[in-house]
Assembly symmetry: C2
Homo-oligomer: 126 residues x 2
């Protein structure tokens, strides 16, 4: 048998944004525009988007489905909090998407987990 | 000041399923039905669903938006691999959703990461 190494099919960044101005977390159309810009910055292609507001002044939940997987957001304006996920496969660069979201929502604190998804054995050369 | 403890707004389970029969990973409608059952088992309420296939026999990408956040799936039939995310807030039980997916897709191997999202200080009693 050939020796093998591992590659991963995708990278998934889980970003928790704290201390965001509540009014930024209540506007589904503005949030959709931010995430579309984020996808573009990462080199990803959006194939579908849906954003939903739970009621006037309440939180927003939404997703972009991408050729490269997805970006999702859920907001809690009452806590100044947003949970953003950027899951991308291929050559897309999810950290560039997070950069756009950070710039747009200006969190006082940002916590990111970077999770490799789909570890696949690949043949090694030599 | 009151002493505080922390609670989290949501739990996010990232499930990587390896060794799934490829034909199970190519059927967007069947996958949607599995995820709807998974949401129901967890005590969550679906508000929107969208499933997309990248071409005949190719992978599926899809999402359920929930009152309680989302369930997403991305499949790679060529690797027998699916990445499933179950992000739920409130009283929903995401591990019950993973149980349904596991039963339906019968992976040879399942790797789960359990990530708390949105740590919020709460007043402590006493």
């Amino acid at each position: 048998m050939m020796p093998t190494d591992e590659a991963h099919l995708g990278r998934h960044l889980l970003a928790d944004l704290y201390g965001v101005a509540p009014q930024l977390l209540r506007e589904p159309q503005a949030i959709e525009r931010i995430l579309l810009r984020a996808a573009q910055a990462a080199g990803a292609t959006s194939i579908f988007s849906k954003f939903h507001q739970f009621g006037d002044g309440l939180g927003v939940t939404g997703v972009l489905l991408l050729r490269e997987s997805h970006i999702s957001i859920h907001t809690w304006p009452e806590h100044g909090f947003a949970a953003v996920d950027v899951f991308m496969c291929g050559d897309a660069q999810p950290e560039l998407a997070i950069g756009i979201v950070r710039q747009a929502l200006q969190p006082q604190q940002l916590r990111i987990e970077d999770v490799a998804r789909g570890l696949i054995p690949i043949p090694m050369e030599g």
